[in-house]
């Protein structure tokens, strides 16, 4: 049974695209809603339209939020894309405290706004704690990131993360 004590979150394009590339969008299944601003929706529709048709997750398409002067300044400071700016604005407008994003600059900007951010890697690993995926499945997904997804992560860091979660999950191959 899917647990539902997770918060409503706002998603940038990265995690939606990368998780779909890995055929792992189901790791978002326990979020009551995943809000997607119009600019992000358009970006995902352009690059990975099938990600928006996943039946097991509750994606909610949102019209553009008003962009304040402060938000425009932050977007310029961190060189954010339209979608990233829209996602941050949606978080602020509706007091949603969690943004799903992979881009470092977007995550830095979100942190400056006191928002919590989580990325593809964290969402995959979390799915074990939430009972959505098995450790074996997630380890296989982590090991396939370089070949199956467009997520960019330094290989030595990914290897280190994989060893860390293997130890945590008492994987005998660790």
């Amino acid at each position: 049974m899917v647990r539902t004590d997770a918060p409503v979150v706002v998603a940038d394009a990265g995690p939606l695209i990368h998780l779909d590339e890995l055929d792992a969008l189901d790791v978002l299944a326990d979020f009551p809603e995943v809000w997607v601003p119009e600019d992000v929706w358009s970006e995902v529709a352009l690059h990975r339209p099938q990600a928006l048709r996943h039946s097991g997750i509750r994606l909610v398409r949102h019209e553009a939020s008003p962009i304040s002067a402060r938000m425009n300044a932050i977007a310029a400071l961190y060189s954010l894309h339209r979608g990233e700016r829209a996602a941050l604005a949606l978080c602020l407008e509706h007091s949603i405290g969690t943004l799903l994003a992979d881009d470092t600059a977007a995550r830095l900007a979100a942190t400056s706004l006191n928002l919590v951010t989580h990325g593809t890697l964290g969402l995959l690993i979390r799915s074990v704690r939430r009972g959505l995926r098995s450790p074996t499945e997630v380890l296989a997904l982590l090991n396939s990131i370089a070949t199956r997804s467009t997520l960019h992560i330094r290989p030595s860091l990914l290897d280190d993360v994989i060893r860390q979660v293997q130890r945590e999950w008492n994987d005998p191959s660790a």
């Binding site: 060189s79 470092t104 964290g122 979390r126 704690r129 993360v161 945590e168």
Partner: protein, 65 residues
């Protein structure tokens, strides 16, 4: 020291860069490209990216939501 590289830039971005130059916000397109690259590199430092990944893994393993 400067280095010469060749890169393709989408029409839309080049038009915006040219507009900045013609409006007097930059001396030339090269300055816009250099400034853009510098800002991108500043906000995508390896140490920052790694910190976000490690924080995320800690939450993923031991968080509550």
């Amino acid at each position: 020291m400067s280095n010469l590289i060749q890169a393709e830039i989408p029409d839309g971005l080049l038009q915006q860069a040219n507009a900045l130059v013609s409006q007097g916000w930059a001396s030339n397109v090269q300055e816009v490209v250099n400034e853009s690259l510098r800002r991108y590199l500043e906000s995508h430092q390896d140490v920052l990216a790694e910190r976000f990944v490690r924080d995320d893994v800690a939450w993923a393993l031991h968080g509550e939501d």
